[in-house]
């Protein structure tokens, strides 16, 4: 699997910072290379933003204002659509040809599906795609489907191991565990020496992936059209989770509101470790044990399994609706919003990780310590299967994981059932 930010790329990013986007002032952004003169393009661009309306939305709206100032003939209609509704809402509108936005902030897992259904405009050769060589390769791959480019990455993320330094120290550890075996050991020591729990698990398929990747498994092998969720590697990965639960290294996970419960336990100091992404930074730092002592909060790459350390790539891409009546304006909008300058501003304000190397070293971005904090964990990011059916693959595994965590089944039969469900979803794929 490709790595997201190999050391060389990071070095290159630092070098580029000086030459690439040194000024970082809020000017009009890069001049587009397309045919139509940008000043002549007019129209209205409706953008569905799926970011958190209360905490993130305002920062994006500010970038939108910058765009409107730079392109006075284009009006932007900003609509915040809750993430949970966005996928269904967009698909319903897109298929009818009425009500869909011009530009959508699209989860990396949705791009292949939308593109395969004809909902997205191919962006190759349009003004939307600017300096593709700056893009980090793994997030960039999420925007491609069937040999064409359908999106421009906006932000990227992955899972890391978040830990409570004090609790680990009390248990006798100065460093977070680097391997899955250590994870269990540290968790059990925390439990016996501090009285707090070792690790809190979030019972969600996405959060199983670091364990599966660690042993060299995956949902599917796209190249060979093979379902690998019940392969020996995947089984070995999920066994680690089963063992964490049965051995007591993990606290008994909640199945409903699993994410919130795990977060609450971590923030209250009731458990020492958790897997989570950069989006949870602000949430964590507001917690009881971190509020007055932010240095107590540690971020590390996910522990490595016997094969490697790997965690799923997340994030969002800008995509353009194929039926848009304002394609030219939309392309310009995407170009501006996804530029290194815009990304650096977002990184600085919200701590969301940019997808362009120059943005990482822009002064606005480096001013936010979260960006540097997450650079190591991002190196473990693994490309997910960018196939149209990808979104369907989570539900069977969530149900299986819930049964496993509830003690109603064990790893192997559970994954066999999941594989059977996948055969129904992925017609013609082999086991």
């Amino acid at each position: 699997m490709r790595r997201l930010l190999p050391a060389a790329a990071v070095a290159a990013a630092l070098a580029l910072a000086v030459t690439g986007c040194g000024d970082g002032s809020g000017d009009a952004g890069p001049a587009p290379a397309g045919s139509a003169a940008p000043a002549e393009v007019s129209g209205t661009v409706t953008w569905w933003d799926t970011s958190d309306a209360t905490t993130e939305g305002p920062a994006f709206q500010e970038i939108v204002k910058g765009f409107e100032a730079a392109y006075p003939n284009i009006k932007v209609n900003y609509v915040n659509v809750p993430f949970a509704d966005a996928r269904d809402k967009f698909k319903t509108a897109a298929q009818s040809g009425s009500g869909a936005p011009d530009v959508l902030r699209t989860d990396v897992g949705w791009v292949a599906e939308f593109a395969s259904l004809g909902y997205l405009a191919p962006l190759d050769g349009t003004t939307a795609v600017d300096k593709p060589e700056e893009l980090l390769p793994v997030p960039a791959a999420s925007a491609r489907f069937g040999g064409k480019t359908y999106g421009v990455p906006q932000v990227t993320d992955t899972l890391g191991l978040l830990y409570n330094k004090e609790l680990l120290k009390k248990a006798g550890y100065d460093e977070p565990p680097a391997t899955m075996a250590d994870l269990k050991k540290v968790a059990l020591d925390v439990k016996s020496k501090t009285g707090a729990g070792g690790i809190a698990l979030n019972v969600d398929a996405y959060f199983l992936l670091p364990f599966i990747y660690g042993e060299g498994g995956d949902f599917v092998d796209v190249q060979n059209k093979k379902i690998t969720i019940s392969s020996p590697q995947s089984v070995a990965g999920v066994r680690i989770v089963e063992d964490l639960i049965t051995s007591g290294a993990a606290v008994k996970p909640a199945l409903q509101d699993s994410y919130t419960n795990a977060q609450t336990a971590f923030k209250d100091g009731k458990v020492a470790m958790i897997f989570n992404g950069p989006w949870s930074n602000a949430d964590n730092l507001g917690g009881k044990v971190f509020k007055d002592n932010p240095d107590n909060f540690g971020v590390a790459p996910v522990p490595a399994g016997s094969a490697k350390a790997g965690s799923p790539l997340g994030g969002h891409d800008y995509t353009v609706y194929a039926g848009s009546k304002n394609l030219e304006a939309s392309y310009l909008f995407v170009r501006y919003m996804a530029s290194a300058e815009s990304q650096a501003k977002i990184a600085g304000k919200l701590g969301l990780l940019p997808t362009r190397t120059p943005a990482y070293s822009a002064p606005e971005a480096t001013a936010n310590p979260k960006i540097a904090q997450w650079q190591k964990p991002m190196e473990t990011a693994v490309e997910r299967p960018w196939i149209p059916e990808a979104a369907s693959l989570f539900q069977p595994l969530v149900e299986g994981y819930q049964k496993l965590a509830g003690g109603q089944t064990s790893t192997e039969p559970m994954l066999k059932d999941v594989a059977t469900a996948y055969q129904g979803i992925l017609k013609g794929w082999s086991l």
Binding site: Q95, A121, L255, Q256, Y321, P388, Q395, Q402, G406, Q408
Partner: protein
């Protein structure tokens, strides 16, 4: 006294459309707006659904043109294939059983508790209208808000229900995480939501029962149970027959409670037919034919139920 005055006898065979029209145009005109809107808004999806359920149409193979993208129409007629695969799928029987259990338990508790409270509220006493307002409060709260409240109350770690149990010295219960307790929880939430409506409807029914009947029975020395059995229950039938039928239909298709409280979990334990069908239809690439077939199966089950129910009612002298 079912309105015999204006009731018209069936028109003679030869009497032609004009006569029918002149005789019935009032009734037709009064029902027309509802009939037209319903036919368009429900009839069109229904007919289209029947058609789609006989094909293999999905979001991917239905032809359309979106901007520069042209998707050819490649779906085919597959006969009853979708129905066969639904009815023979290993999931179907399990889901149907749980849906029936869910419906029967919920409706029984709605009616049982609703009737009990209605009987209590039907007596003159102090604070009666205050009780009535308090007891009906859950109905005034939108269902999605209620489901959200309950999820918060029942949270295993920081839910207040477990906190009270722990304070009283018991262990907390995995309300939403254990398959059995999750079923109990969704039923409890739905009962909480549905009792007020039943209670009010039955209270209305009770108030319409003539007091003279009770007085006469008391003079005859009939026991409270006999009076309940022979006056109250029959007197309630006109109301109860309708609300039980509607309650059953609504509960059978109660999407929000299940979906918002447990999302069908844990491990699919609380998934009823409607939420399961929704998942089948909308997860990933939308399966239009499959979801249509599911819709028809659910509709067919309910139509059968309503028909049987109506037959039973008619045998007891109810008519429409």
């Amino acid at each position: 006294m079912t309105a015999d005055v204006v009731v018209t006898r069936r028109a003679a065979p030869l009497s032609g459309a004009r006569r029918l029209l002149s005789r019935h145009w009032y009734a037709w005109a009064m029902t027309a707006p509802v009939v037209v809107v319903t036919l368009v808004l429900v009839g069109y999806p229904l007919v289209r659904g029947i058609y789609l359920s006989l094909t293999d149409a999905t979001e991917g193979n239905m032809g359309r043109t979106i901007g520069m993208n042209v998707i050819p129409s490649t779906y085919e007629f597959v006969g009853l294939g979708n129905y066969a695969s639904i009815l023979t799928s290993p999931e179907f029987l399990g889901r149907l059983t749980w849906t029936v259990v869910w419906t029967v338990v919920c409706v029984a508790l709605h009616v049982g508790i609703g009737l009990g409270l209605a009987l209590l509220l039907n007596r003159p006493m102090r604070l009666r209208s205050l009780y009535r307002i308090l007891l009906v409060l859950p109905w005034a709260v939108p269902a999605f808000v209620s489901a959200f409240i309950w999820r918060y109350l029942l949270n295993g770690e920081f839910g207040v229900v477990n906190a009270m149990l722990r304070a009283a010295g018991f262990a907390g219960v995995a309300w939403l995480d254990d398959p059995f307790w999750a079923k109990v929880s969704v039923i409890a939430c739905n009962v909480w939501l549905g009792v007020p409506f039943m209670m009010l409807a039955l209270l209305g029914g009770l108030q319409a029962i003539s007091r003279e009947l009770y007085e006469a029975a008391e003079v005859d020395g009939a026991s409270p149970w006999r009076r309940f059995r022979h006056i109250t229950l029959p007197g309630l039938r006109p109301v109860s027959s309708t609300v039980v039928l509607l309650g059953t239909i609504w509960t059978f298709n109660q999407f929000p409670v299940i979906f918002l409280l447990t999302r069908g979990g844990p491990g699919g334990a609380t998934e009823i037919l409607v939420t399961y069908a929704y998942r089948q239809a909308f997860e990933g690439i939308r399966n239009y034919s499959g979801s249509a077939a599911w819709g028809m199966v659910i509709l067919a089950l309910l139509v059968v139920l309503a028909t049987v129910y109506r037959r039973a009612l008619r045998r007891q002298g109810e008519a429409w």
